[in-house]
Amino acid sequence: MNPRIPELGRFAEPALLILVSLSDGPKHGYAIMADVEAGTGRPLGPGTLYAALARLEERGFIEALAPVDRRRPYRLTAVGATILAEQLRELSEFVELGLRRLGRTPG
């Protein structure tokens, strides 16, 4: 069981959150930050955000669109969507395993 996006080290978790955030449409930097914070209740710093964004873009999981008024939106690529779906499936298997061992049925 490997709940991490490979080779992202400490940026694996923010990267996963960003991918999830982008999965319902393109967003610019601050919108991603606000969305992740609203979703997890934990702050995502701008430095971490851009370190993760740069890594994701480098690997072709997301792509930059034309900037609108200084703010550049990012979009999930097909590769990114595949990777994200795979990650989420692995995580859900892990969740199921944990719940089963606890003696509670998932859902």
Partner: protein, 226 residues
């Protein structure tokens, strides 16, 4: 404040992300944690230059390994200077303070080298890590031999035996500490991912293993002086 923070990033990074990053920062007032996060992000961009072309990815060694390697080489050279100076000075009066400084400097460099090289990234280049450990050990052995050889009263065989013993002690202690730190460092990195608040304790635990090499260091000196 904002422009100062953005200036922390490398120029190439700023060309690509500077504009939108400034827009993100302008959205709300920055707290101290945000500032720390940005500084760490800038450091990361300097160290990895990710997202700026695939060519930069995977090339070059991890920074900790590079710092560790430089520290090991510099430390080895300082040991050489300190111990050679000491050996030359042996017959004469009180040693110059410069030798003391270089011994202190060499010790610091050795510790930095151990810290840097025990990081888990160093494990992907084992040969280089071995070399970096070998350089100070060799310098030590050589100088222990030189220091032992200078007083004519001692037979050369004893001097060589002492030098070898001291070198082996130091080398084994250094390797043990490095091994311990490699394991602890990897575990600490894992823990840090889940519990960032444990950072201070993790530093203490990681640094604690330095005692092993310091013990070896002291004993190597005792053997040399015996």
């Amino acid at each position: 404040m904002t422009s100062l923070l953005i200036r922390c990033y490398p120029a190439r990074w700023r060309d690509r992300y500077g504009e939108e990053f400034a827009a993100v920062l302008a959205e709300r007032t920055l707290g101290p944690f945000d500032v720390a996060d940005i500084v760490l992000g800038a450091l990361d961009a300097h160290l990895h230059l990710r997202g700026l072309g695939a060519a930069s990815h995977g090339k070059g060694f991890a920074m900790s390994l590079r710092i560790g390697g430089y520290a090991a080489i510099l430390g080895g050279l300082l040991w050489l200077v300190a111990l050679a100076g000491n050996a030359i000075n042996n017959g004469g009066e009180s040693p110059s303070p410069l030798l003391g400084y270089s011994i202190v400097g060499a010790t610091v460099m050795t510790l930095v080298a151990l810290m840097g090289l025990s990081a888990f990234q160093a494990r992907s280049h084992p040969a280089l890590t071995w070399a970096a450990f070998a350089i100070p050990a060799m310098a030590f052995a050589q100088e222990a031999a030189a220091a032992g050889a200078t007083p004519a009263a001692v037979s050369p065989n004893v001097a060589i035996a002492k030098a070898v013993a001291a070198a082996v002690t130091m080398a084994i202690a250094a390797m043990s500490a490095g091994y311990a730190q490699a394991r602890i460092g990897a575990a600490a990195a894992g823990t840090l991912a889940e519990r960032p608040e444990a950072g201070t304790n993790l530093i203490v635990i990681t640094a604690l293993t330095e005692i092993i090499v310091l013990m070896g260091f002291v004993i190597a000196f005792m053997i040399n002086a015996a």
